[in-house]
Symmetry: C3
């Protein structure tokens, strides 16, 4: 009976986590929460047609860019493809936070057609851009949040903690640089990037309470 109760408990907890966006962790880079892609390297366009034209007249942000700030629900193709094996994406978060970790997700091995387009060596940096979005930020105000290698043999959503050296900085903008991928020479696909942390207000409240 103890074992049955235990089995039920594990199942309940794990399904709850799965239902809560897979990780059960707040994501400040989620499109439906107000985050957006504000800059990126060249997108990978297959058969450069009218879509590209329509897009280029706007803000220079490809319409598929938002896909990397949305859940993929296990579906191949729900990603933002960028040209080549090196590139970057810059994201304005929902609000300024004290970052704790980032999660990079690719499509699951079991349903993927090909995983050579997965990013491999990555670097994530962050800074506080504030309201003046056109103003270039001094590189000394940018924090290196983390560097990591996305591993095709591990779980498809991989979380990496923020470096201690960056732990005290508040950021509202995050940049993912991918320096290599898992083999594709034509493009690299970003399925989803999440950014975890705390809002400064709740942080100060915690401090005041303690």
């Amino acid at each position: 009976d103890d074992i049955r109760a235990y089995a039920r408990e594990i199942v309940g907890r794990e399904i709850e986590k799965h239902a809560a966006d897979g990780l059960g962790r707040v994501d400040y880079a989620l499109a439906s929460g107000g985050a957006m892609v504000v800059k990126h390297s060249d997108p990978y366009i297959v058969g450069k047609g009218s879509n590209w034209f329509l897009m280029s007249s706007r803000s220079g942000i490809h319409p598929d860019a938002v896909k990397m700030l949305k859940p993929s629900f296990g579906e191949p193709g729900q990603c933002f493809p960028l040209k080549g094996s090196r590139g970057f994406v810059q994201i304005r978060l929902r609000t300024a936070i004290l970052p704790e970790a980032v999660t990079l997700e690719h499509v699951a091995k079991s349903v993927a057609y090909d995983r050579s387009s997965a990013p491999k060596d990555c670097r994530v940096s962050g800074w506080l851009q504030g309201d003046d979005v056109d103003h270039a930020i001094d590189s000394e105000k940018m924090f290196l949040l983390t560097e990591f290698t996305y591993d095709l043999e591990k779980s498809n959503a991989q979380t990496f903690g923020v470096l201690d050296s960056a732990a005290s900085g508040i950021v509202d903008t995050v940049r993912l640089d991918f320096l290599s991928n898992h083999g594709s020479s034509s493009h690299t696909c970003i399925y989803r990037l999440r950014v975890h942390g705390f809002e400064p207000d709740s942080v100060s409240m915690v401090t005041m309470e303690s």
Copy 2:
């Protein structure tokens, strides 16, 4: 071996329920099933822009209203935000039913930015509007289906049974009145309302069979 079989059985059953819209229960208020929001209190508009303008020229129904009749898949922001801490939404069901229960769902605690916009004290009533949709219904033909308090500490989808006194009435329209929320003074978010019950035909068939 018995225990293993038991563990597999629980897991299978729970995942099946999760995959079947989380509850494994028919929802007559589902948008993809033909239900729709037919009336609501003032929506909460952030930066009242062109969206609002476009919308107001139509039927008085905000384009985001339909979100409360769709699954949220654990994503913050997939809700219909209404102004203030009191308000209502009126829903035309897919078809006339004998109502059994309603489920109110908010976003899971683990992924939410803030849950002060969750509804708190609620009342759900129902009636048979029929084909004459513009005709106001006598209040005596409206049933109080249930009154409840949405509890932030419980599971994010909370189901409430219909009161016995209302159990014999067939309804095709349901109205949710929220009388308070969990703290936000600006707005209240409805992630999803589901309405469960039986279609009269299947009810009479059951009666005839027994």
Copy 3:
């Protein structure tokens, strides 16, 4: 402790499979992977309005057809409805494959309003159409991949292996003929058809390796 570890392992594996599109199996008929419906029998139109008109000016493919190449996420209504109890849908796969199995999915019993529109007796055939999409294919170049009966009492996603006689043919186009349904005289709903198999390149690589 062994039992606990075992329980965790089962739960983890099953949730991973569920998260990986339910089956954890590559689907070459997935819309987001590049597959598309290229031909179908008469669609079932409720209240033939402007939607139909807009649609007919295009390629003869109903805008809802793509729904049968997308996940349904347990939601009733996320299907392609065709007129009557007999009909067909023809699908161009993402790429040419050596087919192994097909999966036909209907909405889960527990959330369905009515399952009389589910397909019953089915036949799936396939062939290599190649680049000349307008060219009619000799019937002798078509393979019968499988014949089956969709069973309402079983799991809602039912997988059927490809017949041995068809096992050596490479196909890029697949046709589902449904010959009967589960009772509806007006229409038949296809929630999702998946096609599983291997890409010839990876097949030859496997052969070369062994």
